[in-house]
Structure formats: structure tokens, C-alpha cells
Amino acid sequence: MTEPDVAFTDYALAIECVLFAHLVRRREDALFFGSAAVASLAGGTVHGFFLDGRTVGNAILWRITLIAIGITAASAWAIGARVLFPVPTARRITIAAAAAFAAYCVVTLLITQDFRAALVFYLPAAVFLLIVLSTAYARARERGILVAVAGLGLMFIAAAVQQMKIALHPTYFDHNALYHLIQALALWLLFLGLRRLHADAT
């Protein structure tokens, strides 16, 4: 195996996300965590066995990873829209996100497989969700929403840790593995917050 620490933490993240997808109630929440699980499973296999970009395994799995990240981003738009806006507006935002996702698929399948393409697509969705949840918290002062906001904040910290290449150990726990560890905590907080949020809404 090429990067076992990254692959194993990715697989653990996949199992966690499947669990959350199973436990959440709304379809867009399940899609968010389910697609994150697919991205982690495919990404982990790339890190573990197909790092060489010339292999067929890399070509297939990396595209699956990028597209799954795109689904996660599109569902983040849908979650945010549903939290803050009336149903017709939320539907329009969701349709726009789906259209953007279709364009993103064309780009990642045919033009570039650079991870930055996924970041460019995912970042606005994450910022939108952060703004939406912060606004919802400012309105309702509900602790559950604050937990979800903390989770999203932690996701940005995780991304910073990854970009700055901060590692616990250069060989046994590198910056990508640490990123996954923080991401696992962040997703757990987001899951708790979303569950609380939707439990209150029903």
C-alpha cells in the first residue's frame, strides 16, 4: 500500500458517513453524507493503491471521487436553501445547484481532474451553508444549530491543516490523515446539528 494512513482514515470516514446517511431523516442530508462516503471510499482506494496517475484504477476512481464531492457540494446548497428560504426559493436554488453540478461533471470528466476543481466547486457551497446556519442560529439561538456551525467551522480548519501540510507524523500520520481525522469530528458535529435542526422543524 502506498499511503496506508490516508487510506485507512478515508475508509473510517466512509463508514462514519454511511452511518450518518442512514440516521438522518431528510433526503438532501442523506445525499450529503452518502456522497461523502462514496468520495472517501474511492479516495481512500486511490491513496492506498492507485496513486500513479497513469493507471486505469486511478483514472476511474479519481473521477468518482471528484463527482461524489460535487454531489456533496450540490446537496449542501439544497440543505442550506431548505433551512433558510421558503419552499419555492429553496427549489430554485436546488435546481441551480443541480445545473452547476452538471457543468462540473463535464469539467471533471473531460477537461481537468485537478483537485482544485473540486475545491472551487465545494468551497462556495460550504460557505453558503455556514452563512445559512449562522443566520439560522442568530434568529433562533438554538444550541443544535450552533453545533452544526462549529462542525462547518472545523471543516475549514481541517482544510487549512491539509493545505499547510500539518502532520502528526511524516510517515505514519501525514497531513491528509490528520485532515480526515478532523473532518470526521466536523462531520459528526454537522450531523448532530442537522438532526437537531430538523427535529425542531418537524
Binding site: M1, P4, A7, F8, Y11, A14, I15, V18, H22, L41, A42, G44, T45, G48, F49, F50, G57
Partner: protein
Amino acid sequence: MTRERAGDAPLYASVLWFLLFLFCLRVAGQALVAAFAVPFLPPMSEWYSGVIPYPILLPVQVVIIVLLAKVATDFTRRRGFFVVPRRTMGRFLEWFSYLYWGGMAVRYVASMALHPERRWFGGTIPIFFHCVYWGGMAVRYVASMALHPEPPAVPAE
């Protein structure tokens, strides 16, 4: 559900969780050998036949863990997709699992006959855990049938 059969539910769930635990140990053991070549576990050749390459096998094993966890969770909660009996599919899975166990027995005998150097436990890890996986499937069927018995036939007037 009769009282005796309802009382069996925790036992079925415990057996399923135990089989899942065994399978997780097997996956973790092979992963440790693949990643770090740890000396206290058998070498890679002992863990699988090589028919499915390990880069494909490991993600499939992760999916199987998730699937078995879902089965065991459903039985613990006594509701969910896997607790609902589907008799035709269930009977097929039960008989397929018996066939599979038989196949594993043949594989063991053939392996020991063709490779005397393996006697008696060499290369038996995959054989044993194939039985564990399909044992889980059989338990799932038997348990769902026991918890949801067939309604008694209505006698003709």
C-alpha cells in the same frame, strides 16, 4: 411473535454482531499485513487466494462490513429492511450458504491434498472467514423466520 421467539431476538443480534466482529478482525489483520508487514501476523499469501486483487478486495470488504452492520443493527432494533422476512430470497440465501460451506470444505480438502506443506492450517484464513460471512447470512435468514413465523394455514371450511 411468541414470547420464546421474542426472547431469542437478542441472541440472534449478538451472534450477528459477533460474526461481524470476527470479520472486522480479519479485515484489520490483512490490512495491517498489507500496509506495514507486521511480523506477528501471517504473511499476505496466507490471507487470500489472490483471485480478487487486494486493491479491489479491501474496499469491497469495507462495503461488506457496512452491510453486515446494517443487518445486525436491524436485528438489534427489531425493525428495518433486513428483519422483514422475504421467504423466497431467504430460502435461496440459506441454501446458497450451505452450498458455500460445502464448497469451502471441498476447498480445504483439495488445498491440503494438493499442498501438503500447508497442513493443517496454512491458507485457511480465507476459508474460515468465507464461512463466517455466509454464516451471518444464514443466521439472518433463520432469525427473521423465527421472529416472523409463517401464519398458520387457515383450514378449509
